[in-house]
């Protein structure tokens, strides 16, 4: 018997019958994707509020009594960890990965639907464990999202007791959830592609998600290893990472451990994590750009190879996060070199996006606006990465706001721009309704200009030497008064951008019910995901017959054809036939 993911005939007795099996304990990849999406967006909004609180303190110090050095560090830590892991990774892979993989490769579902369901509920458990740390004695950990020992588990750091334990436990649970999901995504892409869907006919979205998942499967173990060892250092007093140290005037029982070892493990995960987030975004933005510019993606093969090359190289650049850790200077030379090499395939991708737009029939729809916005923000963040990748430039800029500005542009704003592009682009497929265009354009311009007004000045603060993670800089001699004014301006921008996101959330909810009904394939896309019988696709996706793929996903504006796009499942002769009849 054929596997359910690739069976030609669907056995309808397997369809979910009750409300619970349809929407709660669902094994349908689309429902699981939406569950992932809603949870990730919710937890992302929590992190957004935390960032607003941080900005209030930085912009207007000594104004808000409820923000103190203790909880400020907790806001910093939880904001970072939630955004990187629980929002971006979960939404890009758990959300979009789940929704798009089976639809884009022509499968009925993931190959292990039950495991897929478990993956979501385990992810939800990790989120609950993480958020529960707000309610335990001492509150959540304030060790910074990098959780460096020895300070992370010693008195003096907020949440050094329960907070850090819950954080580490939550990360371990998240990794279990990711493993279940990740094995599913990789196996589905390799095993459940429909007839004709060769590897090189897959849309770049799938290439991005597929490669990112492999990165995740090999990088998350490093985080798990460090989390387990730190948990043991904290709970049973081992000394994997803990050196001999005097804490609160007393000699602690620890001795001999190496905090640098933790840093190596953490960044062996941490750097590929950047690409776990970036690669799916690269893929999705390529598809959005091609569709809305009515042009095939420029250099498809080069784009695929670049994704694979970036994935491979991302494992040998990790120590560029550790130039100031005191490691051997020869290491710095090696890692600076690999870091600059990774800029080559990345730059190729940027050129190809721009060349896709060149002489295209550009439709300035909301998804396209966000996609073009991404090219700007990513180029910007990438260029500052060249500065920080060099040891001699990194040393003075390390731990300043220049770093904060860099990683927010490259890893915060850029993937978020793509996520917005993707949500506006695929919302009609997911819900059967269009999002409101006016609200969307308002959302784009406010977000795009707003984020620039937040992060551009931060580069300048970094040049001044303003350190990151400080609750207040007070009357520090080398920081001029203008830095405070700038900080206040950044805060005002941040609050505005934060509030504007509510417009987006309202648009999502309002359009669900009152949005314009989406016609079939509203963007006239070649992609297989739009060729389902129903919008949104029903359980099993493809009715009685799986689609057969005859071409790649980028046949836009092909000469001598009637329409300016040819869907992936349209046979060659059919297309010629329609041209012939047109000519007659």
């Amino acid at each position: 018997m054929k596997h359910i993911a690739i069976a030609d005939q669907v056995d309808e007795s397997h369809d979910p019958q009750t409300f619970i099996s349809k929407y709660v304990w669902s094994q349908d990849h689309k429902v699981i994707a939406i569950q992932y999406g809603i949870t990730a967006i919710f937890v992302g909004l929590v992190a957004l509020v935390l960032s607003a609180l941080m900005r209030l303190q930085l912009g207007f110090p000594e104004t808000f009594d409820f923000i103190n050095p203790h909880n400020y560090l907790q806001f910093v830590t939880m904001h970072g960890m939630i955004m990187v892991i629980y929002l971006l990774t979960a939404l890009l892979l758990g959300g979009f990965g789940n929704y798009l993989i089976p639809l884009m490769i022509g499968a009925r579902d993931m190959v292990f639907p039950y495991l897929n369901m478990l993956s979501y509920w385990t992810y939800l458990l990790s989120v609950i464990v993480l958020l529960s740390s707000f309610f335990v004695p001492g509150g959540p950990t304030g060790a910074g999202w990098t959780l460096y020992p020895p300070q992370a588990i010693l008195p003096g750091t907020p949440g050094y007791d329960w907070g850090i334990i819950l954080m580490l436990a939550s990360l371990a649970i998240f990794i279990v959830a990711f493993t279940m999901g990740g094995l599913n995504y990789v196996t589905t892409v390799l095993q459940a592609r429909t007839k004709g869907m060769t590897l090189m006919r897959m849309p770049l979205t799938i290439w991005g998600i597929f490669t990112a998942t492999i990165l995740g499967l090999f990088a998350f173990p490093a985080l798990l290893v460090s989390a387990i060892m730190m948990l043991l250092d904290k709970t049973i007093g081992t000394s994997f990472f803990m050196p001999a140290i005097i804490s609160l005037g007393e000699q602690s029982s620890y001795g001999g451990g190496s905090p640098i070892l933790f840093q190596h493990l953490f960044w062996f995960f941490g750097h590929p994590e950047v690409y776990i987030v970036a690669l799916p975004a690269f893929g999705m933005v390529s598809d959005v750009l091609a569709t809305h510019a009515r042009k095939n993606i420029f250099g498809y093969r080069m784009m695929v190879w670049a994704i694979v090359a970036i994935g491979g190289l991302s494992f040998i650049v990790w120590a560029h996060h550790m130039y100031v850790s005191g490691m051997n200077p020869a290491f710095g030379f090696f890692f600076a070199t690999t870091t600059l090499i990774i800029a080559v395939p990345t730059a190729l991708k940027v050129y190809n996006w721009v060349l896709t737009l060149w002489r295209g029939n550009i439709h300035l729809t909301v998804p396209m606006l966000f996609a073009i916005g991404f090219i700007f923000t990513f180029t910007h963040g990438g260029l500052t990465g060249l500065f920080l990748g060099n040891v001699v430039i990194d040393l003075p800029l390390s731990d300043t706001y220049f770093v904060v500005a860099h990683f927010h542009m490259v890893m915060g704003v850029s993937p978020i721009m793509v996520l917005f592009a993707a949500i506006y682009h695929w919302y009609p497929l997911i819900t059967g309704r269009m999002l409101n265009d006016t609200l969307g354009k308002f959302h784009f311009w406010m977000t795009f200009v707003g984020t620039y007004s937040i992060y551009l000045p931060m580069h300048y603060l970094g040049f001044l030497g303003v350190p990151r993670r400080y609750f207040a800089t007070g009357d520090t001699g080398f920081i001029p008064e203008s830095a405070s004014t700038l900080n206040a301006g950044i805060t005002v921008s941040a609050i505005i951008v934060g509030v504007v996101q509510l417009v987006f959330v309202i648009n999502l909810i309002y359009s669900l019910r009152y949005g314009k009904k989406a016609e079939k394939n509203p963007w006239q896309s070649c992609g297989l995901e739009w060729q389902t019988l129903d919008i949104p696709p029903k359980h099993g996706n493809w009715g009685n017959q799986l689609p057969v793929v005859h071409r790649w996903a980028y046949d836009y504006s092909v000469p001598n054809t009637v329409e300016d796009f040819i869907p992936q499942n349209q046979p060659d002769d059919e297309q010629h036939h329609s041209v012939d009849s047109e000519e007659k």
């Binding site: 596997h3 993911a5 190959v111 060659d572």
Partner: protein, 224 residues
Amino acid sequence: MSLVKQLRTKPWLPVTDQGGEQRVIPQGEKRVALRFFLLMVTVFFSLFLVTFLSRSQYPDFQALAGQPWQPLTDRSQLWFNSAMLLCASIFLEMSKSRVRQQRLNHSVFWLALALLMSIQFLFAQVSIWQQLNQLGFYSAANPANSFYYLLTGLHGLHLLGGMVVIAAALLHVARHADAQAFETSVSLCATYWHYLLGLWLLLFALLSSSAETFRTIAVICGYG
């Protein structure tokens, strides 16, 4: 079509030039998933071993073998435990070959025996923990002890996970007598057990190494 050849195809050219209209790959999804999972476990344990070897070069590290008073100098019990895991692995192979010969009952018998042997292995491992504790080699007393408990514990947890799968396969076959599903489960479990046996032998060799050996390994790896 080989992977490299696939990656070199030009999807924008007409179909006839590529011959890419066949169904891409048939079934076998569980084996693919297991391969990726084992790769992941390999990364997981490799990172532990790298940290272990790195930590072994610090002055406070006291190896558990090498001198007469060190507990793992006499490796007889570790060898005994290894033999049990080896038996489990062999029994799984027996089970696999029987199910391929359509002798379902025999296969179930060998699988149950493999499960039993694995349970014995875990108990024997816990008994070594108890002996170490009684001798005063507590988990937090020295990094060598910590790594011993940690690595054997994690290996045991992986084995426990596999045992749950065997138990589920036995239950499933008892209820449905589905030989095809049973064959897949036995075959995958056999691969997993062989992997865990190999991993255990590596852990055994490293955890029961003397200080001298650690120094030599470190020099070879460039730590020294």
